[in-house]
């Protein structure tokens, strides 16, 4: 078990290999579909001008994400009325939807760890080698369990995106995950895809029993 503390140094990232279980502690943010699209359009590709509190949130994100971790997660949050937020259920969402954005976000903000489920594609794998960074797979659906590793909700950005899509700043302790894409170009997802494709081809060549 590798214990990682955010911000994560490059040496610690390079030590990680596909299959390694990790335990993550420190301050990270959640970000999924709306957040990634917003980050890339407003600050990476600059195809839309910043508006409202965009610039302010960007400055906060730069600090949080440098050497940091972004978690693909749309949590169930209690305390919305009192703003005394508490994560009730917080498993990962499917990461592949962020594939068009993730590599750019990693480069722009120097993100070291992307956490989600289902794995990501070649653009993100290339970014993992270049930044360097890793993709950490949390267990999909293990939401009540993972919520227990969230010690505190520090603040939330862009709540107007809605509870699942907002960027929640959380302090985690011993957040459990597995390395499935490393900084050396290895991807468990690519391996399983190739192996299962060979199995599929063999099965498709056979007929109904």
């Amino acid at each position: 078990m590798h214990s990682l503390t955010i911000p994560i140094p490059d040496e610690a990232i390079r030590e990680l290999k596909v299959g390694d279980p990790v335990s993550l502690s420190g301050v990270m943010i959640t970000g999924r579909d709306t957040a990634h699209k917003w980050m890339v359009e407003t600050f990476v590709k600059k195809t839309r001008p910043p508006e409202g509190d965009d610039q302010e949130v960007y400055e906060a994100l730069k600090d949080l994400l440098a050497g940091g971790a972004i978690y693909h997660c749309g949590p169930v949050v209690a305390g919305l009325d009192t703003k005394e937020y508490r994560f009730v259920a917080a498993g990962p969402t499917t990461s592949t939807r962020e594939e068009p954005y993730q590599g750019d976000v990693m480069h722009h903000f120097d993100v070291k760890a992307v956490i989600g489920k289902g794995g990501m594609g070649p653009k993100t794998l290339a970014a993992c080698q270049e930044v360097p960074g890793v993709y950490l797979h949390a267990i999909g659906g293990a939401a009540s369990l993972i919520a227990q590793s969230v010690q505190r909700v520090l603040t939330v950005h862009k709540l107007a995106f809605g509870v699942p899509e907002a960027m929640w700043v959380i302090e985690v302790k011993d957040f459990p995950a597995v390395v499935t894409m490393d900084a050396h170009g290895a991807s468990l997802h690519a391996e399983v895809e190739t192996r299962s494709k060979a199995n599929l081809d063999r099965l498709l060549a056979a007929e109904l029993r």
């Binding site: 917080a90 939401a143 699942p164 597995v178 399983v192």
Partner: protein, 303 residues
Amino acid sequence: MRAEWKCMDPEAHMRDLTSSFLELIRLAATDLPAEVEQSLQTAQAREAPGSAAAGALETILENVALARQNSTPVCQDTGTPIFYVKYPEGWSTRKLRDQIRQAIAQATALSYLRPNAVDSISGKNSGNNLGDDYFPTIHFEETEEQTLTADLMLKGGGCENVGAQVSLPNAQLGAGRDLGGVRKVVLDAVHKAQGKGCAPGILGVAVGGDRGSSYYASKEALFRLLQDTNPDPKLAALEEQLTDEANQLAIGPMGFGGETTVLGVKVKSMHRLPASFFVSVSYMCWAHRHRSMVVDGADVTYS
């Protein structure tokens, strides 16, 4: 008929079931059915000790127990609430719909459900899980029974996204208009899903119908119990073969590789147009959250 009417409690069809629907939602979101949990336990025993697959299932089972104990959602994606309500003659579906929608909003305020209803054009989340007429999804059917039955499934977005519908024949898969073709479509869909639907999944498969009714039936198939056998021997054999072969793909829990890729396959056959032959696959994640409620007079029971 008229006499029977008078024998019935005249207030029966006026009852407010909001609190009962709330309990149905809480159970569905937080308490995974025992047979699904048992199936996951069996799957865990099959994986190599110390493997990523075994670890994933161990975490999943730990989470299931914790969610039940703390009455917190099994998965944070509490999905689209899909209700099937069979009601005796005389009940008002308008009132039942209102009660279900109120219960959904209450369950959201109590953190049993995540606010999940997003306006597709503005991107705005309604905040209380109430969208238009399609969110939550509610199907009504009048029954001859004296009891009201409400089935609820919470279907998350990750698994919904990996569903598939194919119009046969399909040259790419070499799939013709027969059960052999159906088999190829299903195996291809499981391969394409990889771990993204939160494997090990449960597959609801509909053969026939039009595009709409076919997907609808593929979800209905998911209400069958995992251990029940299809009454049609041909479909029972297909279900068994597909479960076995989907597992031979070795995608494994979470797509980590491993012995169990699906927990079960349920196939439903429908009539079709001569020109159409649809196969629809609804992929349900391991967190197969479905519960039933029966209202018999003053008694409400959940299963």
